[in-house]
Subunit: 148 residues, 2 copies
């Protein structure tokens, strides 16, 4: 990146064990695919691309060992909804798609709003969150995605 310019860092690659199963799960959420192949699939969200790639190949490409999940949470991607009802709606859709809701939608503890958490079939976690008022993080997230 040029001096003073922020790096573009908006593709998250998940190393997956069951490529077809994981791809089917995210398709069932209704997220559009922008690329599809035998071992590489990319979904487009606002701000982020979600890529799926077999974890063994990710390990080879990165010169690292393939990591295994112990089922616990190490990271989470926050999906930001436009209203509180949409937290519940998306949680319902996740449940129907076969995801695991670890935290049912409730009023949030760490900010003013509503949130829920889910894990995909291989233990990758997402938070669904609505913040009731502008805060610096919400404002920065919209700016990072090129939104007003």
């Amino acid at each position: 990146m040029a001096s003073g310019q922020l790096p573009l860092a908006n593709i998250l690659t998940l190393g997956v064990r069951d490529f077809g199963g994981q791809r089917d799960f995210y398709r069932r959420l209704g997220w559009p695919q922008v690329f599809d192949g035998d071992d590489f699939a990319v979904f487009e969200l606002r701000g982020l691309l979600l890529a799926l790639f077999p974890v063994d190949k990710l390990a080879i490409d990165s010169r690292a060992e393939p990591g295994t999940s112990d089922g616990g949470i190490r990271f989470s991607i926050i999906i930001q909804t436009d209203g509180p009802d949409e937290v519940d709606e998306l949680a319902d859709r996740v449940r129907q798609a076969g995801g695991t809701i670890t935290k049912d939608p409730v009023d949030a503890e760490f900010f003013s709003g509503r949130d829920a958490y889910f894990a995909d079939p291989e233990g990758n976690y997402w938070e669904i969150a609505w913040a009731s008022e502008d805060n610096p993080v919400t404002t920065a997230a919209r700016r990072a995605a090129g939104l007003p």
Copy 2:
């Protein structure tokens, strides 16, 4: 989200064991902070916000168990540079900041371009990549970040 609208999903929260150490590492990369607190720090990149939060608190908030890393790769965030030299420059900066380069910059295997991989001090992986020509993934990543 409204029907037909993609969800905004551009905050990645890393559950960290050493909050201060991880925050210092990302500060040394020169990434600007948009929020700072005793147990929550947020860095702004293009497209993405990177949030750091103690893994035990993330586990409580998500009603899950805290995950532990086995040192292997399970996911990676791709940083997209504007040219091949910048892959090497950022890899140098990561090395100076105390990150672990697992793959030194080389011509990429899975696309036409150049890439490297690094892990932060707690084993969270990033890929630094430059793609030599427009491809659907690069185009979609720029679109997702609101860039031309």
